[in-house]
Amino acid sequence: MEFFSPSDLIGSSPILALSAFSLIALLANALVKNSAKTVFYISVVGILAAIGCAMYTFSMNATAFSDMLLVGGYASFFAVLFLVVALFSLCIAKPYLEREQYHFGEYYVLIMLSTIGMLMLGASADLITAFLGIEVMSVAFYVLAGYYRGKLSSNESALKYFLLGAFSTGFLLYGIALIYGTTGTTNLLRIVTMYPQAFGDPVHIIGWGLILIGFGFKVAAVPFHMWVPDVYEGAPTPVTAFMSTGGKAAAFSAFVIAFSVPMSMKDERLMLVVAVLAASSMLLGNWFGLSQLNLKRMLAYSSIAHAGYMLVGLASATSLGQQGITFYLVSYAFTNLGAFGIIAMLEKVNGANLSYEDYAGLAKRRPGLAALMAMFMFSLTGIPPFAGFVGKYYLFASAVHSNLTWLAIFGVMTSLFSTYYYLRVVVYMYFREATNTEEIILPKLTFATVIVCAVGILLFGIFPALIFDLMKSMF
């Protein structure tokens, strides 16, 4: 009887490496005085190590731990994405937390733990792994959302996230149970083979429907999106940044793997449900985003809308759509991290300085910062040459390919709404006079991160092949 083999260890090395470093960090937190800084560096090293492992395993194409985990290709790609996002979010978080006087080592440990969950999600070949991945990630997120213990909005954000998150877990689990009941397995690789047999069983399809709901909640699809604005607004900004990028990407990565099963069978029933969710997400996200006054909340609605765009790719049930989602996740992660990074830099104690008005005249006071923010806004709008455009192009192309042209048209029309509120940021920054003349001090670390994000969206926008070439082996 063999428990595991060395190849299992190599295959799961990113997770293992990160786990090991998170334990080290935890120990350091307990043992070292003024530990937060130390823990930060340990986390950075751990993440870098995990990135190394993920890159090392990229060319593999296998499964590990009795088909529980995918190894290489898709999993490694997403692992790198999650780790990079985690790294950036740490860089954004450190100066922020120091300024807010909330700098504890636990923060970094929790980020690492949630990243472990993400890595599992991106590598899940089994619904159990996906389920546990979601839980590891979410439990850490629940805590992170409530990280500002003394602040009511943070508490509330955590409670809402937690209650609804647990609620949705119930549905996800129910879905997994029904799939299991109708196929006798939770392993996606085997469900595929069972799928034709179970196709006609209403219990089976309901199972997929419930899984859809569970993931729909995590990716913030309408009508399971209600938590998003409140949680994003209440959580500390670096946490929001991480949740909206890493969390969404992780949920989507597992979503795509899981749904590649029914979608590979072109199950039109699910395609249509996903399409409807996509359409309503795009509509509501962009529509309600229009009247937001708080930038974090606006980005929350934008996050809902972007989930809608990505669901378009899912609904199309083509590899084009999957590539689109993947690329979109990358571009969205960079864009949103950048935007939140800037928000985090400009935010003041007690959530002040988050309204549009506070950004008035930024272009004169801090031209570089304003230019970066404008780039992120244009990328979110989907204007070339930024990465956001290429992603949208792929997603809508996939929709057209799958006879979902109506969805693509709907998508572009609603994105017109979004133009308005993304542009509003630019309008305030560039076209209005400053009302506030205080000097703005920018933490170097965050600023550098934001610049890297900007370079990223520009680079991926102009040379999308950088990403797409990697995907050749994935889909």
Partner: protein
């Protein structure tokens, strides 16, 4: 010699460029004036040389086309900058450059001391250039270049004194009116060109006319082509309904009125009809329209002229009226008669205008004839030449106007209808009457101005010489076309005959050999004319009260005439103001701003407002979120269940 034809055109252009670019720097008026005058004079000389050569060659070798370069070519369309020198165009060229040179010379004196001296000559040269293009072009497109070009120059020159007032508005108003009314005509011309190209596949005269010979009389397309062209002509040659600009054009300096609004540009319409004679010959309906319009214009403009008090206005209405005669002529198929009148009219009308210019000059820009009188004493030469001109226009026997006018009247009777002759003859009488009203009120009788403040004086040499030359031609100019019935040979008609041969072949005029009738009609019209002269002289030198009584008795009619039949007002009320009001009040302020923009802005606002309302379903209570969540589940499961 023919190959020199482009230089006829080029020379004034050169003058234009030199004066245009350097005129302001050259402070010396003499140099500027000389450049301008010489530029036109040299054209005249070249034209004269060509004319002489032409006279020496047989009739069939008199047409030459000189191509300079391809102008516009696209697809099957192609038009050259090419000049067609033939009898008709050389005749027109001679008139344009000849009269033009004289007026340039006159202007040196007239414009002396004006701040825009160089500008004036620049514009004049540009005008001559455009006019020469018009008459020398070998295709309609190049003619159109000249056509619009003269319109532009007319605009520039009418508005020359751009900061002066004119009547109720400014000179600018008059200039703009001229250009726009001309443009309305040009619109017709443009459409005519499109139709010509559509029908013949070319705009070149040779091709078009050669093909036209194959068409039958009464062809529908020809009707439209010619009608549209005639709309163009009514604009340029100031015919009903587009004549309204010409009286206002008197806002410009007097030499301009002489050159453009009497001698040259306004005859462009006649020239065009004559040039396209074959097309007109194919469209008898248009011919009829042309004749009637011409006749009506001749009559109504004459009646307006009866009551005008502005010296130039009277001349202006007389010009409109005379142009009507010309159209009557070409309208009844007497193309050469029409052109004959163009030529003689050029002489005496230029003379009259220049003479009036001398008067105005002498009276320090006073133009109201009611405030003149007795100028005969102060400026005898002006008076003499002016009188010659007046006699000529009144059709006094053996002066130039007599021959040309009678030719038209006769053709109107034979080829048109007797009633046409009657009205035309009546109009001739009216002309004679108001011309001598003008002469009497201006030069004869008592001075009605303040002698202490105004010191009229004879015009300077540069102004007098042109007057004398023109007076000479006003007298003898008609002798090239003495009709057969008076024992003449009508060289003029013979010379132009080849140009109109095609048209005449189509027209197939009935022959009239009744010399007695011709002489009888001639006698009648002369009598009417003489009566008019006598009445005009008698009433306005000795029996002023008659005029006043008549004016009082027919005060309604007088008022109508005084206000020029209220045509301007009617146009304003029917066309101009409605368009303006609709554009501003409806198209812009309502359609553009309210309907289109507000619809869009409203949709944007609507989306934002509804967003603001409906985002409140996000109540902040976590259970309401859960309810939405469950609703979503119900949908998903329900949908998948009933599939």
């Amino acid at each position: 010699m023919y190959s020199l034809a482009p230089f006829i055109v080029l020379s004034p252009l050169l003058g234009f460029l030199i004066n245009g670019f350097f005129g302001r720097k050259i402070k010396n008026e003499t140099i500027v004036g000389s450049i301008g005058t010489l530029a036109v004079a040299s054209s005249f000389i070249i034209a004269l040389l060509i004319f002489i050569e032409m006279l020496g060659s047989p009739a069939e070798e008199r047409k030459h086309i000189v191509t300079a370069f391809e102008w516009i070519a696209a697809g099957t369309f192609s038009a050259n900058v090419a000049f067609q020198v033939d009898q008709l165009s050389i005749l027109m060229t001679l008139i344009v450059t000849g009269v033009g040179s004289l007026i340039h010379l006159y202007s040196i004196g007239y414009m002396h001391g004006d701040a825009g001296f160089w500008r004036f000559f620049t514009y004049l040269n540009l005008f001559i250039f455009a006019m020469l293009n018009l008459v020398l072009a070998d295709n309609y497109l190049l003619m159109f270049l000249g056509w619009e070009g003269v319109g532009l120059c007319s605009y520039l020159l009418i508005g020359f004194w751009y900061d002066r007032n004119f009547e109720k508005g400014t000179t600018g108003d008059a200039a703009k009116k001229a250009f726009i009314v001309n443009r309305i005509g040009d619109f017709g011309f443009l459409l005519a060109m499109f139709l010509i190209f559509n029908t013949f596949g070319s705009l070149t005269y040779e091709t078009v006319f050669a093909q036209a010979a194959g068409f039958s009389v009464g062809d529908n397309v020809m009707f439209w082509i010619t009608l549209l062209m005639f709309i163009g002509a009514t604009g340029k040659s100031a015919q009903i309904p587009l004549y309204v600009w010409l009286p206002d054009a008197m806002a410009g300096p007097t030499p301009v009125s002489a050159l453009i609004h009497a001698a040259t540009m306004v005859t462009a319409g006649i020239y065009m009809v004559a040039r396209s004679s074959i097309l007109y010959a194919l469209a008898p309906s248009t011919m009829e329209i042309v004749a009637i319009i011409g006749l009506l214009t001749a009559f109504f403009a004459g009646t307006i002229g009866l009551v005008q008090n502005d010296i130039k206005k009277v001349l202006a209405y007389s010009t409109v009226s005379q142009l009507g005669y010309m159209f009557l002529g070409v309208g009844v198929g007497a193309f050469s008669a029409g052109l004959f009148h163009v030529m003689t009219h050029a002489f005496f009308k230029a003379l009259l205008f220049l003479g009036s210019g001398a008067v105005i000059h002498a009276m320090h820009d006073e133009q109201d004839i009611q405030k003149m009188g007795g100028l005969q004493k102060f400026m005898p030469w002006t008076f003499r030449t002016f009188a010659i001109g007046s006699f000529a226009i009144a059709g006094f026997p053996l002066l130039s106007g007599f021959f040309s006018k009678d030719e038209i009247l006769w053709k109107a009777y034979t080829d048109g209808a007797p009633w046409m002759w009657l009205i035309a003859a009546l109009a001739a009488g009216i002309t004679a009457f108001y011309m001598f009203r003008l002469v009497s009120l201006t030069f004869l009788g008592k001075e009605r101005f303040d002698l202490h403040h105004v010191h009229p004086h004879e015009a300077p040499q540069t102004m007098l010489i042109p007057l004398l030359v023109l007076a000479f031609f006003s007298i003898v100019g008609g002798y090239v076309g003495i009709p057969h019935v008076l024992g003449g040979h009508n060289y003029f008609e013979e010379f132009l005959e080849p140009v109109f041969a095609g048209a005449n072949a189509k027209l197939m005029m009935p022959m009239h050999d009744s010399a007695a009738l011709e002489l009888g009609l001639m006698g009648t019209s002369v009598a009417i004319g003489l009566l008019g002269i006598y009445a005009g002289w008698k009433i306005f030198t000795q029996k002023m009260e008659i005029a006043e009584n008549v004016a009082k008795r027919f005060s309604g009619l007088h008022k109508i005439l005084w206000n020029k039949y209220f045509v301007d007002e009617a146009y304003d009320a029917v066309v101009v103001n409605p368009i303006k009001t609709t554009s501003e009040k409806f198209l812009w302020k309502i359609f553009d701003v309210k309907i289109i923009d507000n619809t869009l802005n409203f949709s944007a606002k609507f989306v934002e407002a509804t967003s603001n309302i409906f985002r409140r379903i996000q109540t902040g209570v976590v259970q309401s979120y859960a309810i939405v969540f469950v609703a979503g589940i119900l949908f998903v499961i329900g949908y998948l269940m009933v599939w």
